[in-house]
């Protein structure tokens, strides 16, 4: 499979046309948002080039000179740890003829040299050396002007974010109340989280918004048919499946700025079938749980699973601690980049349980993730049809079944007192306009 070329076809959208694509009052929206090449180009410009996009985790590049490749939309970037412990993110493109400066997934470097004409950069992305600079440029090249474009970089409890836009709000403001829910995964234990080595990357021929929306607002698919076989794979042989009922005591939260999440409270069923008994015990009782209660409060410590999307394309599952970025590759394709976090202070056997069970469940071969890849693939295939693209899709769910209420004291956001609601997903589709 090769990346399909994509070029804008010239269809222009004005702001009103874009807003008309999603109508939360009638609970309808147009599938055009998943197929239009021109909307996709606008997404790269107005969403990915302006948002705080996740680059990975600090423990992936712990030492000075450590670097890894990442993407902001379709723009490749290099993420590098500096000598002063700060992190730089710069476009992986030499300004001379546009060659990719760094061609590997990661490592440790003292400098980066463009393989085409040998322009050399320090680990901060400054152009420091140009071959035959005196002879060819007469000593007049202003190297300070010709380094690759730098992004703003900020971190939140281990996660690294970058943003091209100088006028965008800072990360703290951008995340807003999302931090309250992110902390359930990132701040359960002293010292936070660390990464299990390795980023799994695979290609799904579907629009990135299907995935982002699912993690933002779709507990419904997990509570119905999508993952029945994943649950079958996780319960001991011979178990009566009728005893493994999907939980209905949860909430769906629209947080603002396009961020969304859904919570299951005090129902460790999903932990049992996804994480196994040892990790379920670690997460729901004993000293690690007591510490989580102290740090997060009882309400958040008792959240047994939280699916979340931080706009636009960072998703994770609290407790399971699978973290993923949906990298857009045209309207019809994405790459899933995923890694797993563990509490830094967790015992080795618990870290091992996290590793084994996330490979088993939420990975390319995962007994849950396999079926997501299958569904999105088929949706996108059907949308090749002309008539299929004229049929509005349904997002009425939250309007009909629930009223906006507050979840629990201190839980921020606009919330819906039922696990299965779609409000948090629909809102973020409007960011484009």
């Amino acid at each position: 499979m090769t990346l399909a070329p994509h070029t804008p076809s010239g269809r222009k959208y004005n702001a009103n046309e874009i807003r008309a694509l999603v109508n939360t009052d009638t609970g309808r929206y147009s599938p055009e948002i998943y197929t239009s090449e021109d909307l996709y180009q606008l997404e790269l410009e107005r969403i990915f080039a302006r948002s705080w996009v996740c680059m990975g985790h600090e423990t992936q590049i712990p030492k000075a000179g450590d670097y890894q490749a990442a993407y902001i939309g379709e723009d490749p970037v290099v993420v590098v740890r500096q000598k002063d412990n700060s992190i730089r993110v710069f476009l992986n493109q030499c300004r001379h003829r546009g060659m990719r400066i760094c061609r590997v997934d990661g490592g440790n470097a003292k400098a980066f040299t463009c393989p085409y004409h040998g322009w050399a950069y320090d680990t901060a992305g400054n152009l420091v050396s140009v071959p035959m600079e005196q002879e060819a440029f007469g000593g007049k090249l202003n190297k300070a002007e010709w380094g690759p474009k730098q992004a703003r970089v900020e971190t939140y409890k281990g996660l690294i974010f970058a943003n091209w836009d100088e006028s965008a709000p800072n990360l703290d403001t951008y995340l807003g109340d999302a931090k309250f829910y992110m902390d359930i995964m990132l701040d359960r234990a002293e010292g936070g989280t660390e990464v299990i080595t390795g980023v799994q990357k695979f290609v799904i021929p579907a629009n990135w918004k299907f995935a982002a929306e699912q993690f933002g607002s779709d507990a419904y698919h997990a509570g119905t048919t999508a993952h029945v076989s994943g649950i079958i794979a996780g319960v001991p042989a011979g178990t009566d499946l009728s005893k493994v009922q999907p939980p209905t005591d949860g909430m769906n939260v629209y947080i603002g700025n396009g961020h969304g999440c859904g919570l299951f409270s005090r129902n460790p069923m999903f932990y049992q079938v996804i994480c196994g008994p040892q990790l379920t015990e670690y997460l729901t009782s004993g000293p690690a749980y007591e510490e989580a209660v102290k740090r997060l409060g009882q309400g958040r410590a008792d959240v047994n699973l939280c699916h979340m999307n931080v706009f636009p394309n960072l998703s994770f599952l609290t407790g399971l601690n699978t973290v993923r970025m949906w990298q857009p590759r045209g309207p019809n394709e994405m790459e899933l980049w995923t890694f797993t976090l563990v509490d830094r202070t967790a015992p080795d056997n618990i870290k091992e349980e996290w590793r084994r069970n996330m490979v088993r469940t939420f990975s390319a071969s995962g007994v849950f993730e396999q079926d997501d890849g299958e569904n999105w693939n088929d949706i996108q295939h059907v949308l090749r049809g002309h008539v299929a693209r004229q049929q509005p899709f349904n997002i009425e769910m939250a309007q009909h079944t629930v009223q906006s209420t507050s979840i629990a004291p201190g839980f921020p956001g606009e919330s819906f007192a039922y696990t299965y609601a779609e409000e948090s997903g629909t809102q973020h589709l409007q960011a484009l306009g």
């Binding site: 499979m1 061609r103 590997v104 997934d105 990661g106 490592g107 440790n108 299990i196 080595t197 390795g198 980023v199 799994q200 990357k201 695979f202 290609v203 799904i204 021929p205 048919t225 999508a226 029945v228 076989s229 994943g230 079958i232 794979a233 996780g234 042989a237 790459e335 890694f339 797993t340 091992e352 590793r355 084994r356 996330m358 490979v359 088993r360 990975s363 390319a364 071969s365 007994v367 993730e369 396999q370 079926d371 890849g373 299958e374 569904n375 999105w376 693939n377 088929d378 295939h381």
Partner: protein
């Protein structure tokens, strides 16, 4: 040099073994491939020993001179598979389920096994075997995925019709970013 194995057995040219033993082990692998192509997953799973370690590291693009050792994740890293008998048993329950959408309808699979190199272990009747694999997967209307891989196996002779059981399988896939939407089958 490519650092592909913690088991150093796979790094030196094997001593010649009898034509009959070579034939016997190759036939075992051809039969295993047929069980997978025919979706006889329970029978395929019965080839795994109770202490099976079935795993596939992630592979990344690295500078060959300096950082080749980082090319594969190790046993503590993330992977495409990290299974024991019990978790493989769960995977078999899924792949044979009516509600396992990734394999219902099922993929059409073909595993071509070649380059069968066999090392005798110090223990009698235990062998380390490297096989090269071309796996073709076609499903639904047009979806087609190709994988090439090396499998580094440890197999043990058993007294049944198949003749061997697989004690360890390490799958080294020749892709960094996986060029498929999932891995819903076995290598």
């Amino acid at each position: 040099m490519l650092d592909t194995a913690s088991q150093s057995a796979f790094q030196v040219k094997p001593e010649l073994i009898s034509v009959e033993l070579q034939h016997e082990i190759e036939q075992f692998y051809y039969w295993e491939a047929k069980l997978m192509a025919d979706r006889r997953w329970e029978e395929w799973f019965s080839l795994m020993s109770k202490d099976i370690k079935y795993w596939a590291p992630l592979r990344s693009t690295r500078s060959h001179a300096a950082e080749a050792k980082l090319e594969y994740t190790d046993e503590k890293g993330f992977g495409h598979f990290a299974d024991n008998w019990s978790s493989l048993d769960g995977r078999i329950r899924k792949i044979t389920s009516d509600v396992g959408w990734s394999e219902n309808p099922a993929s059409r699979l073909r595993h071509i096994v070649g380059n069968v190199l066999i090392w005798k272990d110090r223990q009698a009747d235990v062998y380390d075997v490297s096989t090269s694999l071309m796996t073709y997967r076609n499903r639904q209307e047009r979806q087609t995925d190709f994988f090439a891989a090396e499998r580094q196996d440890r197999i043990r002779r058993v007294d049944d019709a198949c003749g061997f059981e697989i004690v360890e399988r390490k799958i080294l896939i020749d892709q960094s970013t996986l060029l498929s939407n999932n891995i819903s089958f076995f290598f």
